[in-house]
């Protein structure tokens, strides 16, 4: 199967508020798919409809070829880290998670083993017998992630998995998600665009309930043909023309706001390199550009691949939050 999640013409409103409007996209198998959007864009609503917590007004969602209106057919195959869902505070962690696994048809011993493994993944094994009410916010978040990883789900929905986590825990969760990609398709929503760019291979961007962009991260960030080069001084027009004549270079631009002072007296100037998409040996082209720059007496400081997802995100969403 090429696509494990297929969303077609999905619409949902809450009273007069149109939360989702005719959203359609597909999620490729074994991808880490990022769902982006400003606050109130409809990400959580979309997750909730995929998991059948909310009923769509129009459209349909298929997960693993099954219409999610028959969500019970996906028991054990689809899991979710929901946003704002609370565990029962006065019941020990172990008991709650074991109960989930008993529902999945495990014996009590199997369930306990799986739960402890899952808790170990998020560093909560030693807290297994504690009540949820006694955990810190970050620990509860890790517990929520542990329940999403229980069993062997084929599709995992993670609604802002690293929100509220310290940097080390967030890194641990990102590593875990990458490992799980081998066995599952993962859809992640996050406000952290660097995280999404690092983690995901496909993204969809929602704005005001509508899909504004969808595709692979490489396509969206033009990572296959656009580079940004940071230099020690600005280039003259003649120097730009000279570099543009290198075989495989489509254009080289120096934006008007290209100069940037990063403090401590060192300044950086950026140029945007646009290479031919069909150019096979991009490394060779880049090496030629860098040699040319050095020959001009300019020191290259940094080379980044593609535009940042953040710049694309701000461009398509207009840099606005849906809720001011």
């Amino acid at each position: 199967m090429t696509h494990v999640v297929s969303i077609q013409g999905l619409s949902k409103s809450f009273g007069r508020i149109q939360a989702l409007s005719n959203v359609s996209f597909d999620v490729p198998s074994h991808s880490i798919f990022g769902l982006l959007g400003p606050n109130g864009a409809g990400k959580t609503t979309l997750f909730s409809i995929i998991a059948d917590f909310l009923k769509a007004d129009a459209g349909r969602v298929e997960v693993l070829g099954i219409d999610t209106r028959n969500i019970w057919k996906l028991c054990g195959r689809l899991s979710i880290l929901p946003q704002d869902a609370r565990f029962q505070r006065n019941v020990p962690i172990l008991e709650q998670l074991v109960f989930f696994q008993l529902l999945a048809g495990r014996t009590k011993q199997q369930a306990q083993e799986e739960v402890l493994q899952s808790l170990e993944l998020v560093g909560l094994q030693s807290f297994a017998k504690r009540r949820v009410g006694s955990l810190s916010h970050g620990m509860v978040k890790r517990l929520e992630i542990a329940q999403a990883f229980l069993g062997s789900p084929e599709v995992i929905l993670l609604d802002e998995p690293t929100a509220g986590l310290d940097p080390a825990s967030a890194r641990q969760i990102r590593d875990l998600v990458k490992q799980l990609q081998q066995s599952a398709t993962i859809i992640v929503s996050s406000h952290n665009l660097d995280e999404i760019q690092e983690l995901c291979d496909h993204v969809a961007i929602l704005n005001l309930g509508s899909l504004v962009l969808s595709g692979s991260v490489d396509e969206i960030t033009l990572a296959d043909r656009e580079y940004i080069l940071f230099l020690s001084r600005p280039l003259q027009d003649t120097e730009l023309q000279q570099l543009s004549s290198i075989d495989g270079v489509r254009s080289i631009q120096m934006p008007s706001h290209a100069g940037a002072n990063h403090g401590k007296g060192s300044a950086e100037y950026l140029v945007r390199l646009n290479l031919s998409a069909e150019q096979v040996n991009q490394d060779g082209v880049l090496a030629a550009i860098l040699r040319g720059v050095l020959d001009m007496g300019v020191t290259p400081r940094k080379l980044t691949e593609g535009r940042s997802l953040e710049s694309q995100f701000l461009e398509v969403t207009g840099g606005q939050s849906s809720h001011p």
């Binding site: 917590f53 019970w72 028991c75 899991s79 704002d84 869902a85 609370r86 989930f100 329940q147």
Partner: protein, 332 residues
């Protein structure tokens, strides 16, 4: 509407987990306390005069006369049962109780004086006769009071079957692990199990206390009637729990669910009773819930008893169906 799918194993797991959780969450404990306080208080109010009479007889005559005690109990029990049947008001019962106490005080409560009481009413209802004379009267009176009062208390247990977890979104951890039907019916069943356990505790405590303190009824008769009363109370709670399930599945706030459950259960009774004073057909409102016929669970005719039990189950099924219909379609 078709019931999409239900997994019996999940219903069993959820019901057991939920009945345990009812204790932990506090709502079960609150209900247990309220039910115990209500049940034991009612029992105490009815048993205490009998205990005092036995003690006085022993003090004055050396031992208690079981026949006289039984007749006194019938005197105490009759107005209680008449009240539950709607034959007497609380005011009339209060006046009779005062008169009885005066009689005991003035005439020193000799066996001959009191014995004249019970058979005064020649036209006594055969149902009341059955409850007071064919069955352990004290237990009958206590059961009648419990049948009347327990539906008010049950909402403390049933109000939060799903509404709290809808509000906190806690249900979302379950929704991808089992069907909505299994959650809904599992929690209903868990609540019924807990309620039945509480009824068992109350009935066993009252029966044991009554048996040990008064020693006027044969153990076998007392046990059999206690079993009947326990079954009647347990079955009676089922439709009221189902009403709570329906309300709990319809609102997001546990507090609102509790208030609505109280208003609906008490409101139907009040509107039926008060409304019928001004407009006779209003009494049929009592049949919106089992209020109108629930006393039949202690009827002398087994067929009427069974019909009442069946009625409880039919009502429960209706309310459950409505609740499930809504729960299956709503946003969670």
């Amino acid at each position: 509407m078709k019931l999409k799918t239900i997994t019996i194993g999940h219903v069993r797991l959820i019901s057991l987990y939920w009945s345990r959780y009812a204790v932990r969450s506090g709502s079960g404990l609150v209900y247990l306390m309220i039910a115990l306080i209500f049940g034991l208080s009612m029992a105490h109010i009815l048993i205490m005069p009998v205990e005092q009479l036995i003690a006085r007889q022993k003090r004055e005559m050396g031992n208690a006369d079981p026949q006289f005690i039984k007749k006194t109990i019938i005197d105490i029990g009759r107005p209680v049962i008449q009240f539950v049947f709607g034959q007497k008001t609380l005011e009339e019962i209060g006046q009779e109780s005062m008169a009885r106490q005066r009689s005991f005080r003035d005439k020193d409560g000799g066996p001959e004086d009191a014995a004249a009481g019970p058979n005064k009413d020649a036209d006594i209802d055969p149902w009341i006769t059955f409850l007071l004379e064919k069955r352990p009267a004290l237990l009958s009176a206590i059961f009648m009071l419990l049948i009347f009062g327990m539906p008010f208390a049950i909402s403390f247990l049933g109000y939060n079957q799903v509404s709290g977890d809808i509000q906190s979104h806690g249900l979302r951890y379950l929704l991808l692990r089992t069907e909505r039907s299994s959650i809904y019916f599992g929690r209903f069943l868990g609540t019924v199990i807990f309620s039945t356990a509480v009824m068992a505790i109350i009935v066993v405590t009252i029966t044991f206390y009554l048996g040990m303190k008064t020693r006027i009824y044969p153990a076998g008769a007392l046990t059999l009637w206690a079993l009947h009363g326990f079954l009647a109370l347990s079955i009676l709670m089922v439709p009221y729990i189902a009403v709570c399930s329906l309300i709990s599945a319809s609102v997001d706030s546990p507090f609102l669910s509790l208030v609505l459950a109280k208003v609906v259960i008490a409101g139907v009774l009040l509107m039926g009773l008060l409304g019928s004073i001004y407009w006779k057909p209003a009494k049929y409102l009592l049949y919106a819930l089992p209020w109108g016929w629930q006393s039949n669970l202690l009827h002398p005719e087994p067929a009427r008893c069974l019909l009442a039990a069946l009625g409880c189950l039919v009502y429960a099924g209706f309310f459950l169906f409505l609740g499930y219909y809504h729960f299956e379609r709503r946003d969670l």
